[in-house]
Symmetry: C2
Subunit: 384 residues, 2 copies
């Protein structure tokens, strides 16, 4: 496949943006990415968003973002895969550029979650699960993740406090990310003593919601001046598993994460040991543990050991969630997959400041929609 380069990135702070509509947020990220790329000639716009219909009474969103961004006459595509919308949109944008039909694409992820009742947001988020078989039982999305975590702790003997390092690291990193929502450090005690949301998922196991948008511009690598250093997408794959937990043969293994990671590794010709940092989908701490296992960084049932025994800070052995992750940068769901790519690009460009992973050459990015259902894995690499 034709090699793809990321030439522009943009993002808004993840926050409660009371003054901005879902479209305003997207436009801000689009303009920032175009400015960063230094070019205006976008041929195709991809918008990743989960809930603009249910929360913002707005569908046909890709056309509206194109319209307000001044991108008239382009083609515009809205892609939704619950919290994995961003990763899936990047994948499709990449294929469009790789086809040779599209010379440049801009992918913007956006979500506006706070301008509504919390109960409405909870109800919409649960639509990532199976309406007929899971939601009809009264399950929320947090409850489904709690079921997985409960079983995981039971099967492998972990205590709740063993998951603390993931959240502590994410919060420590977010302090230095001006775009993060929760820019405050927490201790392991804070994690452990926090109030319970849906046992065993405590307040600091769960990521922060928020409004936000992030964008990237991609082009064929061979259209970029070869002397300059560039960030390329060396591997890209999406796989899906069952939606309902009860349909899954193995409820404690992210099959779609394993499948998509293996494909992406093969494309990039790398092993897990080659990965310099991992932007994982820490929507819940149990998902961080399971992703590490499925992607080859821990044995089955031993995900929490990565946080407990290895240095996962940006300067450590296996840096995770370098800009705060979903946990502390925040999780504006349809935008999250693109935030991850923006942050990985900052690492590979060497512009991550206090959060810089030394000599970062290969970054892994994984975005999950549903409770382990739709999983997009990308390998980003620095060239030159």
């Amino acid at each position: 496949m034709r090699k793809i380069a990321i030439i522009g990135i943009g993002q808004t702070k993840v926050d409660e943006h009371w003054q901005d509509s879902v479209v305003d947020l997207a436009v801000e990220a689009v303009q920032a990415a175009k400015f960063d790329a230094g070019r205006e000639d976008i041929e195709s716009l991809f918008v990743s968003n989960m809930m603009s219909g249910t929360l913002n009474q707005q569908l046909n969103l890709a056309a509206l973002v194109a319209d307000r961004s001044g991108l008239k006459g382009v083609e515009a595509t809205h892609i939704e895969a619950a919290c994995g919308s961003g990763g899936v949109a990047l994948r499709q944008a990449m294929l469009a550029v790789a086809s040779g039909e599209v010379a440049s694409a801009l992918v913007v992820g956006v979500e506006k979650m706070t301008d509504t009742l919390g109960s409405e947001t909870t109800k919409s988020l649960a639509m990532a699960a199976d309406a007929d078989y899971e939601l009809a039982q009264g399950a929320t999305f947090v409850a489904l993740n709690a079921l997985i975590m409960q079983r995981y702790m039971y099967e492998y003997g972990w205590k709740h406090e063993d998951f603390a390092p993931f959240a502590v690291n994410a919060h420590a990193n977010a302090v230095h990310n001006p775009y993060a929502r929760l820019r405050k450090a927490i201790s392991a005690e804070t994690f452990t003593n926090a109030r319970m949301i849906a046992s065993p998922v405590g307040l600091f196991d769960a990521s922060a919601t928020g409004d936000g948008a992030a964008a990237v511009v991609i082009v064929p690598y061979d259209s970029v001046g070869k002397s300059a250093s560039a960030v390329t997408i060396a591997g890209s794959a999406v796989a899906v598993d069952t939606v309902s937990l009860h349909d899954r043969k193995d409820g404690l293994w992210l099959t779609a994460a394993e499948q998509s990671a293996k494909r992406a590794y093969a494309q990039a010709n790398i092993q897990p040991a080659d990965v310099d940092f991992f932007e994982l989908h820490d929507a819940f701490s149990i998902m961080a543990a399971l992703s590490l296992e499925a992607c080859g960084f821990a044995e089955r049932g031993k995900g929490p050991r990565v946080g407990l025994e290895r240095d996962i800070s940006p300067q450590g052995e296996l840096p995770l969630s370098t800009h705060g992750g979903l946990k502390a940068r925040g999780h504006p769901v349809g935008a999250t997959g693109i935030y991850q790519v923006v942050e990985a690009t900052q690492q590979l460009r060497g512009t991550a400041g206090a959060l810089q992973v030394p000599d970062a050459e290969i970054g892994l990015v994984q975005n999950i929609g549903g409770a382990g259902t739709t999983i997009a894995t990308h390998v980003l690499a620095r060239v030159n």
Copy 2:
């Protein structure tokens, strides 16, 4: 770009399917298309749907359809572009296959509109327009089309009855389409005397809602035995215009239809005169007239003359809506663009029965999301 062939088609009847969920409908069309294609090896699933979140409390729909169709481990993408979702999804599936990364893709369009209050469906359909600037004024989607039609009749001197031939032809064709919702012929008098919905849009200017799903399987043409006749996608383009009518420089011209048609014609190396039949987006009769103008079949302001002066039946000079169109086959919005492609494929295979366009070699398909906003145009051609 690599040439793409359509090797399988499937559809459900457009109807009130009280016993089937949105997922059930999609699965039925998926299985039919796979059976027709004679192969199981689908690598990528695209689901086009507008309103499953707002009407069926179900997002992450692509993964769920893959799951229930037995397509585990594939990649799955949900694409939304209001009523133009199907055309946009076909375009992206085509680019995915053209990239060389995906050997086979299945695109299924689905919508379940009737299992809810009519007022809820009306509210959701209106989300194709601008929530902040149009819906906030109380506009429904029918009302926006009525504004366009009113102005068109005023500017060019047409009477309401002049639009009758589009609906009369569509209903006459639907009689012979077992998958159509409104299988009954109407007269011009019925059209003219029908009750007014939003002046000047009468009951028979507007298309029928409904539940339904349609699917196509596409592969690289060079992977199909060359001796067999095949249906190929010779031209494909999507363009977007403003969402709000008040932002449009020219409210009586479908700029995105013109742009996408011109690109698709150039790719296919054809002129409008080469088109043997046109599956147009007759969601409202005014849209039929405007599409004919923008695509080069009538001069500006003269769209209704095509119906009044030319034979638009399947055996006529310029066959339109050969299987009943949105008007009478029905318009399950996210599925419509794929129904059009399924019907065009039937024509090019020569399997359209009583609706067969003699010696059909080139078919034009146009799908519109919003009031002229997101427009996908495809040229389908028979090879051999």
